[in-house]
Amino acid sequence: MTTQAIAIGERVKRGVFRPCLETIPTSTIIGCLREHFGLEGAVAIGFFDSGTYQKRLFTYAPFDSVIGTAKLPLTLEYLAPQKVGKEITAQVYVTATPEARSSFAKGEVRVVAMGALRSKGFGRCQLQFVEEVQPGRKVGYLRGSLRETDAPAFGIDPERDVVRPVYGYLFRPDSYHIGGRYERALTAGTILDGPDFLMDEEAYPYDR
């Protein structure tokens, strides 16, 4: 996946500063695939390639149309290309369900959108199918965030394979896509036994 600017917000509220993530959580990318490809059952996760992006700040004042004034200015952190004229690149992994296989053709480039401030041009991405891979397994530190209910799709049994969880919550929209609930998720730093593409560095082989 490539993009020029993207802001996938960390869920930190009540501040005038909104930090952004350096990975694409399952909740964000699954929502994107459902919106653009109609994929209901596929599970996916993504990671921006280090060295292709840098963090920048964007300050804006949201407008309150009810009282007709601007609200307190917010500063949003976003990812911008590391070098002028280049793009941010990311690797997106989608479980190879029959539905997903039929949606992607090799070499085909699809334009998708995700993250915050899409109305202001952020989050416009180009997604291109590269290849189908068979991941290896290792024990290591998780480098992204995934809902526990999405973990089995990656061959992870939360009871058996998670050595040291670090929990957070990710949103799961309801079937009408107007509401939803938060689901418990495994976040960066979790030590688990799982597919190698999910891992950052290998962890010491602790006993279970």
């Binding site: 869920r11 930190v12 500063f17 500063t75 526990e148 969880p165 929990y167 609930r181 938060y182």
Partner: protein, 672 residues
């Protein structure tokens, strides 16, 4: 421990003889051998031997079995023999988890902390000495003290200086651990062993039973060390190193109450060690702690689940990231990964280790009860529970009951909310992982270069380095760190320019302070003072120092959570100062770099030249800016020196210069 005759048995007193200056006493005509006095001829002093149970501790090196029949103190009961043997076990564990084993160098006088080698000499120059008992009359007071001492605290308070200045072992390189630290660990472990073991009889023989395992001798309980033999120890305990984390993002001033709450809960855990409030019976031991770290000694998980011991913290929403070693007593080391590897090397593979020995090293986390699903809206602060609407000053927030309760603990400092100008947030932190790396390096240096090590062979030195167990040194370092925080606070309060403007938002939490000031020089006076104290107390560990002072300079209205995110960033070894003006500039400095910048940038006008160099660097690269600096080295020799001798970049120099400039406008213009 109270014995049946109601006199206390104080395990820590078993080594009180190490505070006696044997050479001086011999010169005074007394016949003494070793540091225990169980064979001492009391006729020499004309007094009877002590009669308190604590006196039995002198036999702790002799009574290694409950079935021993000869060489026992008169009047000792089975219960007394059990205490003495448990003292021996506790002493062994305290040594096993906390210091190295191996070939010894020469004997020396006084303690030599790894991070402050000259400590004993400094104290001696101030007229203090390690020895508490140097004359026959003083030796009489030692025996009298053994008789009348009522508690370990009385011993530690009465002989505080001597216990600090005496090494647990006089030989190089073992003399890096103060006797007081070793005895403190021994006492804590002893009380846990006492609580969990029971004196039982089998065929009228006395035995000690714990977790269904009966033992009559030290070796049966503890087993062999990983490198010594293959005896399996029957008694399994745990050593747990535990980082305490909280999920809250600090948004309002009241959210700093999470720091107060964390401290209160740690105190509660320390209090809960005592079974039914009795200090002599402990279900577990907090070996040492900081505000975000606990080191614990506990029985097996099946006897006392960690969840139960840590309930005060998890019940308030804190979560724990911990490394746990559950093993036979003699395999409990503070370097679990190294011991695990030694065992695998010895037995061939992990499964064979499991067949022969009990050793489980785990990395886990302990979380409060977290629901699998949470209905919207999520709590704005912790993001782990459903929030309820709270309205304050027309601002709506969604808070869960736990975060709401935390906010209601009070407003940390009203003066902060009334201040409207610039402020400097200061946060001191100690990274335990970096500390362990630093201690290992310091010990390695001491083994290689310490005076008194010349006669130790090269391979023995390597064995010593491999056998280093840092826990006692870590305990002592943490103690010194707490003293550094106290001294820093006292230093801030003693400076006229800072005294009235420095605040500690949570008074008992000394890692976080804020200075309300518009003058850019004032925070640097605080930083100067911190560095002076650090150099005085930890002179040998500056190059990979695990202590950091972060300073964030901004308008007081700048969001707290942005400061806190900055303070929470990963520490780097040796970076002592991390200074930022949020979203404007940031610079990380080592001790020497800070000192050089303070000295060289004090005089002279560099601003325009530094800006010029920074511009050249960003446009044409570091090489071109270096050439520019070289071209004008006659005019600005300091810049070249800072770069060449102290490894500073132009950006660092410029950022530091801008941070110290007395230009109020810029420091507030960028703040929000």
């Amino acid at each position: 421990m109270k014995t049946s005759n109601q006199k206390p048995y104080i395990a820590e007193l078993h080594d009180i003889g190490k505070l006696a200056d044997t050479e001086a006493l011999k010169k005074a005509g007394l016949e003494i051998s070793g540091h225990t006095y169980h064979n001492f001829d009391f006729k020499q002093l004309g007094i009877p031997p002590p009669i308190s149970p604590s006196w039995w501790g002198q036999w702790s090196d002799s009574i290694k079995s409950l079935v021993a029949v000869s060489g026992l103190p008169s009047g000792i009961t089975d219960e007394g023999r059990a205490y003495v043997m448990l003292t021996k076990i506790a002493d062994t564990i305290a040594a096993c988890v906390s210091r190295p084993w191996g070939e010894k160098g020469e004997d020396t006088e006084g303690v030599r902390p790894l991070w402050r080698p000259n400590f004993y000499n400094e104290m001696r120059q101030r007229g203090r000495s390690w020895a508490a008992f140097s004359t026959p009359d003083e030796l009489k007071t030692m025996f009298d003290f053994i008789d009348r001492c009522e508690s370990p605290q009385e011993f530690f308070e009465g002989y505080r200086d001597n216990l600090l200045l005496t090494a647990e072992d006089k030989s190089v390189p073992f003399n890096c651990i103060p006797l007081g630290t070793h005895l403190d660990l021994t006492g804590r472990i002893f009380r846990v062993l006492c609580h969990w073991s029971e004196l039982v009889y089998q065929n009228s023989n006395a035995l000690l039973e714990y977790d269904g395992q009966r033992i009559a001798a030290v070796i049966q309980a503890a087993g062999n060390r990983a490198t010594d033999g293959e005896n399996r120890g029957k008694w399994v305990f745990r050593l747990v190193a535990c980082h305490i984390r909280f999920p809250q993002s600090l948004v309002r001033l009241q959210d700093l109450n999470v720091l107060r709450l964390r401290r209160q809960k740690i105190e509660e855990i320390i209090q809960n060690q005592k079974v039914d409030g009795d200090a002599e019976r402990q279900a577990y031991a907090v070996l040492f702690h900081t505000d975000d770290y606990l080191c614990l000694f506990l029985p097996k998980e099946t006897q006392l689940p960690l969840k139960q011991a840590m309930a005060p913290l998890t019940a308030e929403g804190f979560w724990l990231d911990y490394e746990e070693l559950e093993a036979e007593l003699n395999l409990l080391t503070s370097t679990g990964a190294g011991t695990r590897q030694q065992l695998v090397d010895r037995y061939g593979n992990r499964e064979r280790v499991r067949e022969r020995r009990y050793f489980e090293l785990r990395h886990r986390s302990l979380w409060p009860e977290l629901a699998e699903e949470v209905k919207t809206p999520l709590c704005d602060i912790c993001q782990q529970r459903q929030g309820e609407l709270h309205l304050k000053n027309q601002v709506s927030e969604w808070l869960c009951p736990m975060c709401s309760k935390m906010r209601n603990l009070g407003e940390p400092v009203r003066a902060l909310s009334e201040w409207s100008e610039s402020a400097v947030w200061l946060k001191v932190s100690l990274d335990q992982v970096l500390l362990l790396e630093c201690l290992e390096r310091l010990f390695g240096n001491y083994v290689d270069n310490g005076s008194g090590m010349a006669n130790v062979a090269e391979n023995d030195r390597e064995a010593l380095k491999e056998a280093f167990r840092p826990l006692a040194a870590q305990t002592e370092f943490v103690q010194q760190y707490h003293e550094l925080l106290d001294a820093f606070q006292a230093s801030l309060h003693s400076m006229n320019s800072i005294r009235d403007t420095v605040l500690y938002p949570i008074p008992e939490y000394k890692e976080l302070a804020v200075i309300l000031t518009d003058q850019t020089e004032i925070p640097f006076l605080a930083l100067d003072s911190f560095l002076k104290l650090l150099i005085e107390r930890f002179p040998e560990c500056l190059e990979d120092c695990p202590i950091r002072l972060s300073a964030s300079v901004s308008n007081i209205k700048f969001p707290y959570h942005a400061h806190w995110q900055f303070f929470e960033e990963q520490q780097e070894a040796g970076v002592i100062f991390d200074i930022q003006q949020p979203r404007v500039r940031r610079t990380k400095l080592r001790a020497q770099q800070f000192q050089a910048l303070r000295k060289m940038l004090k005089r002279g006008k560099f601003s325009h030249f530094l800006h010029r160099l920074a511009a050249v660097e960003s446009e044409a690269g570091e090489l071109m800016s270096m050439i520019e600096a070289l071209n004008r080295r006659q005019e600005f020799p300091q810049i070249q020196a800072l770069m060449k001798d102290y490894g500073l970049t132009f950006s660092q120099i410029l950022d530091f210069h801008r941070l110290t400039e007395t230009d109020k406008r810029e420091s507030t213009a960028h703040a929000q």
